[in-house]
Amino acid sequence: MSEKSLNLNLRVWRQKTADAPGEFVTYKLDNVSPDSSFLEMLDLLNEQLIETGEEPVAFDHDCREGICGTCSLTINGIPHGKGRMITTCQLHMRKFEDGETITVEPFRAQPFPVMRDLVVDREPLDKIIQAGGYIEQRVGSAQDANTLPISKEIADKAMDAAACIGCGACVAACPNASAMLFTGAKMSQLNLLPQGQPERYKRAINMVESMDDNGFGNCTNIGECEAACPKGISLDFIAMMNRDYAVAKVKRFFSGAA
């Protein structure tokens, strides 16, 4: 519950369109409740800007409870800001000091072009899923759910991977703009489960190739992605993906396909 309010200096990235040059603009914002979320603080800034006839800062947000993956922002250099395992919408102002200068930037990564201010285009992540992040299962063709027992260990591990919200913080945190944590998580969820076995190796190749085609870099085992991930997705899933990709390539080599 609230103590005293905060007065802040905000250094915010402003960029009118994808092609226009951008710059940092500093705003003073007073009387911010420590109980408000970071996005509510930006709402307040926007109200102040509108009042003074300036254009508000565009940023992506939706559910505001940490599950939809829409909000982004790099805050003082860290995707989703300081605090482990939270998204920007879950970051509360009580974590900041009175008088602090806060730098707010969009997620920085070549495959995520800025559309305006703090809004970036993360469609390349969708493309990776479209390339193979699914099980081919037509509606209406499923058997009774309990005819396929799945051990609790496997189901839990798959759920650990499935917790990814697709926000792209892993890409923004990576010096190579790699999407391997994202791709590894989604691929492992499906490749761990018995339902995912028939397409396991095809999936591994298609998703990895799509990742490369969409301009994401490679993993160099720095681990920034895991640290930035709001859902605590483990690096183990990158290892799992690499293994499945390697096996898939070997299988493909011996089967004579290109």
């Binding site: 508000p56 559910c63 505001r64 993360r122 899923i129 299962q137 509606v139 759920m159």
Partner: protein
């Protein structure tokens, strides 16, 4: 207005089978000639788009988010109901049907609800096959939990992220169809009008939210699956972007709006802390399986540390009032019980607007009984979320909860085939009114979304398209004057908004609307409060259209323009909601009229006059809408006073 429900003939359990047997089909080779527009990419919209794509139709799917994976179905935490009876505890399709009708306070259509219960089992099969990682027991079988309003365990779940996992299942199927080119996905597009050609829905007008371009899209049928309208209260559990716009524009084109006053206030949300707040966060109702709801018996204890209040001074209000359902009483009933004690001055937590708004949800006994580890495994993420927002540790100090606007049972009127009264215009998921009557039971929204999207629309849309000769399919021309008219109307409305350049921000006007709605049209409504609300809404709407300030231009990414458009629609819609609440002179489910209650504060229905659906027809902004009635025929269930005591 033609309100023929088109419920198929035959006994309840044969209706859907009979309907499917009689539906027209489209030959697989001809399906590619037909096109369908789907607005919304949640469980209902995304599911329908994926399933129709799999069948071979050309589908265009639109969402306002940056990806179809963001739809607000994602935020559902607790679970999805299905009549699998895997727990051998006496569940059946009939029991799920019965619980849903009763839970909805006898204001839904028997045929539709039975179908929902019937297809619920296929939903679980389908989702498991898609790779949804539902919780499992050590033997490898699916696990279940119980939810409010039921005495069986029929809820399937994936930690506290069931909605997310189900939506991702839908998103994956949809992504596969997008990859195959069968579905074309349009992210960051907002639907701003439906286009009717000779009275038949043939397309939509959208605004590209990145560059402001207004575009025309034609199809053989249009599906609206744009969710609910709880953001009319400003503070709600909905996502910030949720809005009534798509449904409202359809209403203004002649679609009937059914039971708008049926709104659900969810009992277990984190209480409001202050004026800065932009949303209220829901804590899954599943918490009520192990948490006990209480408030201090004495007013002077309200500001104390709850751990210092002795057992005899605690009022376990739900267990006291509803001994057989206890803490698992349905949402509307639990919400009102919490409001009552706060109104009596026994609320807890910070004082907001002169009142402590909150009651405790206490896990002390569950932790003693089961151990902290078990509670952590069941609800760990919810406890973390609570601590993150409030700064309090709920393992050591009871959570504070308070009701918040959550789900809206009302929506576009649809017949058994999910078609509105406009030919060719369908509505699915929360956007329609069909299955939950006056109150939705927990874990039933995910069920309905997927039922509509995966298992109903693929049949009923096929039936509709099957009646269009293949030679006429896909022939709608976007140069038809109807498209030009709709596009011009949209453009005019946008330039009008931009040109006002007043002093009030769209957000401040939305907040003002929310206050009116929460105070006068929220958990308790009266003739007086509703009449007052209508006056205030009209005045606020006038202020909006003379004083709203939208910086920037229409042809760019403009967040305030997006917001203003949605607030403008809410300002019209709110009035309809009030008219409906005023007209429905009874208490029923989520609609509580203070004039109609028993001595101990329970809702009193008037089945003689209101065992029906109120369907409203647009007659002009500010004009009184025209009411139509669809009678509800209960052939299988006897109407009774809903008792959870």
């Amino acid at each position: 207005m033609n309100l023929d429900p088109k419920t198929p003939e035959g006994p309840l359990e044969k209706k859907w089978t009979n309907a499917k047997a009689n539906y027209k089909l489209v030959n697989p080779a001809n399906r590619r000639k037909y096109s369908v527009i789907v607005v919304g990419s949640g469980l209902a919209g995304g599911g329908a788009a994926a399933a129709l794509g799999e069948q071979g139709y050309n589908v265009k799917c639109f969402c306002y988010q940056d990806s179809p994976r963001r739809a607000h179905s994602i935020a559902a935490q607790g679970g999805i109901n299905a009549a699998k009876n895997y727990q051998n505890d006496g569940d059946s399709v009939y029991r799920l049907f019965y619980d849903t009708i009763k839970g909805g306070d006898y204001r839904s259509r028997e045929g539709n609800v039975y179908r929902l219960a019937e297809v619920s089992t296929s939903i679980i099969d389908q989702c498991v096959a898609q790779g949804v990682p539902f919780a499992r027991e050590y033997g490898g079988m699916l696990d279940n939990r119980s939810f409010g309003g039921a005495q069986v365990s029929r809820t399937f779940y994936a930690r506290g992220q069931t909605g997310q996992q189900l939506l991702l299942g839908v998103y994956q199927s949809l992504s596969r169809q997008i990859g195959l080119g069968q579905v074309k996905m349009y992210n960051r597009h907002e639907m701003l009008d439906v286009v009717l050609v000779n009275g038949v829905a043939k397309g939509i007008i959208t605004r590209n939210m990145v560059n402001g371009k207004i575009e025309r899209w034609a199809a053989d049928a249009v599906v609206i699956a744009s969710g609910g309208y709880s953001t009319v209260f400003f503070l709600s559990t909905n996502a910030a972007g949720c809005n009534v716009t798509a449904a409202w524009r359809a209403y203004k084109r002649g679609a009937g709006f059914a039971n708008p006053c049926f709104t659900q206030i969810h009992p277990t949300c984190i209480p409001q802390e202050g004026e800065h707040q932009s949303k209220l966060t829901l804590m899954s109702e599943s918490l009520r399986n192990d948490g006990r709801v209480w408030a201090p018996k004495k007013k002077e204890d309200c500001a104390k540390n709850p751990n210092d209040i002795p057992e005899e001074d605690r009022d376990y209000l739900l267990e006291r009032k509803y001994p057989s359902f206890g803490n698992l009483a349905p949402r509307d009933i639990s919400s009102r019980a919490a409001k009552e004690v706060c109104d009596e001055g026994r609320g807890v937590g910070p004082v907001v607007a002169g009142e402590r708004r909150g009651v405790y949800l206490d896990f002390r006994d569950a932790i003693q009984r089961l151990g902290r580890k078990t509670i952590e495994a069941r609800y760990g993420n919810l406890f973390d979320m609570y601590e993150n927002i409030t700064g309090e540790n709920a393992y050591e100090r009871p959570m504070r909860i308070y009701p918040a606007p959550h789900y809206t049972m009302g929506g576009l009127w649809v017949d058994y085939n999910l078609m509105t009264n406009i030919t060719g215009l369908f509505a699915a998921g929360e956007a329609n009114y069909s299955d939950h009557g006056a109150n939705r039971l927990g874990a039933s929204a995910l069920m309905q979304g997927l039922a509509d999207g995966f298992f109903v629309l693929p049949y009923t849309l096929g039936n509709y398209l099957g009646a269009i000769p293949p030679g006429e399919a896909g022939k709608t021309d976007i140069n038809d004057p109807a498209f030009a008219d709709a596009e011009n109307a949209v453009k005019e409305s946008i330039s009008k908004l931009i040109s006002i350049k007043g002093k009030s921000s769209p957000r401040s006007l939305h907040t003002a609307l929310g206050k009116i709605m929460w105070n006068k049209v929220g958990m308790a409504r009266s003739k007086e409060s509703l009449t007052g609300a209508i006056e205030e809404i009209r005045a606020l709407r006038e202020k909006f259209w003379s004083d709203v300030l939208i910086p920037g231009d229409a042809d760019e990414l403009n967040i305030e323009l997006e917001r203003a458009g949605r607030v403008a629609d809410h300002l019209e819609f709110a009035e309809l909601l009030c008219f409906d609440a005023l007209d429905r002179d009874e208490s029923c489910g989520g609609h509580f009229r203070v004039e109609h209650q028993t001595e101990d504060g329970e809702a009193v229905r008037h089945d003689d006059r209101y065992a029906n659906v109120s369907v409203w027809e647009f007659t002009g902004v500010g004009a009184e809408p025209k009411k139509h009635v669809e009678p509800l025929n209960f052939e299988n269930i006897k109407l009774a006073v809903r008792s959870y005591k």
